[in-house]
């Protein structure tokens, strides 16, 4: 029987039963984790293909009172990419496992699966306190993952993440408490129906509290000053998770709540300016960086600012553009951080000059393609989203935003071409870099998908159009949830 509850129940079951699984030889846990992720990916594909009407999975009692998981077009879009990227990351790790194995590997697999479960839970859940619980699971597993290596830098990154995360969750839970006190419900659909009945100051206070709570995690301007530290302290494998999965889940939840609670355009200008500031600032700071992880951390922040701008517009076209950018960015950052993991392991340096030393034509071309995609060059996946967003803002007449986006792309071009120049410089190279066939095929698959989406973006357009329609339309969401009876 197909049910969306398996996305959360099975990773938890896996996590709890690791002591039993570790009895089955030294590969028991690793292979079980791989099989679990493969089956979750297949499950999400099956659910997406079957999806004609949204499915509501009821837990214990029916929705307005209890918790329910809603799988509609947009949430299944996110679930599919999360399961896909986790699977890809696992396979990549399996490829290097022979040579470089993490210490306490079982715990790494538990944390990976818990992070997947919580990201999916954030996207699927329709109860605001349940969202808080998943917010905490995702947070606490990210803190441990970022200090996984137990070096001074890693622990510093983890502690910084933990302190900011604890602050964020206090503000978030304060907002949730105010919502319950004044509306008497925790269900997203009911809150969405009644939120306008609150007085305007109270709406503003709750919105501010939720913005602060999620702002720390979505990595937007006033709260993103610590993010680059975390990226620098953690391993690139973990950065790939943060950049492609976790921040995307928080971003979705933030805008999902925004569209549901305040479905009018009062905050559009404010959110647009937040997005523009965080984009421009991140790109400017990125130029000066010499640590390669920090460069890509700031580039992630810049791309998240762009996504923030796209989703802030609250129109269907802008969301379509945003989803394209999100997909392209996730794939490209996955490629970049995965290959950085191998490069840093091989040459034991985190300075950007490591690209100069790197001796592997395969890696060179892979990195080149993903950087060009991030820049938004035509025929690569990143182009579609950037083109669509410029078109949307052009039609709406926001020429300030358009010039900001073009400016940010130009600054981005400066440091990306610096990196590309380093890679193709004709200097003395280091040792030849061997990577296993498994890792090669993973990177090749991701790169081919970048090119494929770039050349033929319309293969996804039906799916993405449906997703954006579902996301923007709060009435459908209310009807879906409130119409369910067990």
């Amino acid at each position: 029987m197909m049910s969306s509850i398996y996305f959360i129940a099975l990773p938890l079951l896996f996590g709890f039963s690791v002591p039993i699984l570790s009895k089955f030889g030294k590969n028991g846990v690793a292979y079980t984790s791989l099989i679990l992720q493969l089956s979750l990916f297949l499950l999400s594909i099956t659910l997406v293909l079957d999806l004609t009407t949204p499915i509501v999975e009821v837990i214990a009692i029916s929705p307005p009172l209890g918790i329910a998981l809603v799988s509609d077009n947009v949430s299944m879009f996110f679930v599919t990419i999360f399961t896909f990227f986790t699977l890809v990351l696992s396979i990549y790790y399996m490829g290097q496992r022979e040579n470089k194995k993490y210490a306490n590997e079982n715990k790494f697999f538990i944390l990976l699966n818990m992070l997947l479960a919580s990201a999916i839970g954030l996207v699927l859940s329709s109860d605001i306190f349940n969202i808080y619980v998943f917010f905490e699971i995702a947070g606490i597993s990210s803190y441990i993952l970022s200090s996984y290596e137990k070096t001074a830098n890693a622990l510093e990154a983890g502690l910084k993440y933990l302190l900011t995360g604890a602050m964020a969750s206090i503000f978030l839970v304060f907002g949730i408490f105010l919502i319950y006190l004044h509306l008497g419900t925790l269900n997203l659909a009911l809150i969405s129906q009644n939120f306008y009945t609150l007085s305007i100051e109270l709406q503003l206070l709750i919105a501010t509290l939720l913005f602060v709570g999620f702002g720390f995690k979505v990595e937007v301007f006033p709260f993103n000053l610590w993010v680059s530290d975390i990226y620098e302290g953690s391993t690139p494998l973990v950065n790939a998770l943060f950049s492609s999965i976790v921040s995307k889940a928080y971003l979705f939840v933030f805008f999902h709540l925004l569209y549901l609670f305040i479905p009018h355009h009062n905050f559009t200008d404010f959110l647009l300016s937040v997005g523009v500031i965080s984009m421009i600032l991140a790109e400017i700071v990125a130029i000066k960086q010499t640590n390669i992880k920090r460069v890509f951390a700031y580039s992630s922040l810049g791309q998240l600012g762009l996504l923030f701008i796209a989703f802030s517009m609250q129109t269907s076209d802008a969301i379509i553009a945003g989803l394209y950018i999100l997909l392209a960015h996730s794939i490209a950052k996955m490629v970049i951080f995965l290959s950085l993991d191998s490069i840093i392991n091989k040459y034991k340096s985190e300075d950007i000059s490591v690209l100069e030393k790197m001796n592997s034509p395969f890696m060179k071309w892979i990195l080149l393609i993903s950087m060009l995609s991030l820049l938004g060059i035509p025929l690569f996946a990143g182009f579609v989203g950037k083109f669509l967003i410029l078109k949307t803002f052009g039609i709406a007449g926001y020429f300030g935003i358009i010039s900001a986006i073009i400016l940010a792309s130009l600054i981005e071009a400066i440091y990306y071409f610096k990196l590309i120049g380093l890679m193709f410089k004709n200097t003395e190279k280091g040792d030849y870099m061997e990577i296993s066939i498994l890792q090669k095929s993973v990177l090749l698959l991701l790169t081919i998908s970048i090119l494929f989406i770039g050349v033929y973006p319309f293969i996804l357009s039906d799916w993405i159009n449906l997703a954006s329609e579902t996301m923007i339309n709060s009435h459908t969401y209310q009807n879906i949830i409130l119409g369910v009876q067990l």
Partner: protein
């Protein structure tokens, strides 16, 4: 004199005002602690104070005077005229989660201290460039 004072304090509106002002002062004391204190232990305690403040705020405002605790016993046989159980359940969850985060934070601070000898957050700048 004392009678009237007690009666005045027992009014539901007065109670609500006391709860809001008291818990918000507590909340801002915690925030003040986070912004001014530097030692790890002090920071964790400040976070705890902020958490307790919002828990008191929530339970206090969800409480309605004259209603009993939401469980049977002491001659109560029907689930009527009882306080709302959902806030209690939510706070239970939040307290346990807060404790888990605190314990993890303390253990990370211990390990970080063992490697670097640092006990305050303002010296935590190995990642700046």
């Amino acid at each position: 004199m004392i009678e009237t004072l007690l009666n005045f304090l027992n009014q539901e509106e007065v109670l609500q005002v006391i709860i809001v002002i008291g818990s918000m002062i507590l909340f801002f004391i915690g925030l003040f602690g986070i912004l001014t204190q530097r030692h790890f232990i002090k920071i964790f305690i400040s976070i705890e104070i902020m958490e307790i403040a919002i828990f008191i705020f929530f339970i206090g405002l969800a409480f309605q005077k004259g209603k009993t605790a939401p469980m049977l016993g002491d001659g109560i046989t029907k689930f009527i005229n009882m306080n709302d159980p959902i806030p209690h359940a939510m706070i239970l969850t939040a307290i346990v989660i807060g404790m888990a985060v605190l314990a993890l934070g303390v253990s990370m601070a211990i390990e970080y201290n063992k490697l670097t000898g640092i006990t305050t957050i303002d010296k935590m700048n190995g990642l700046k460039n």
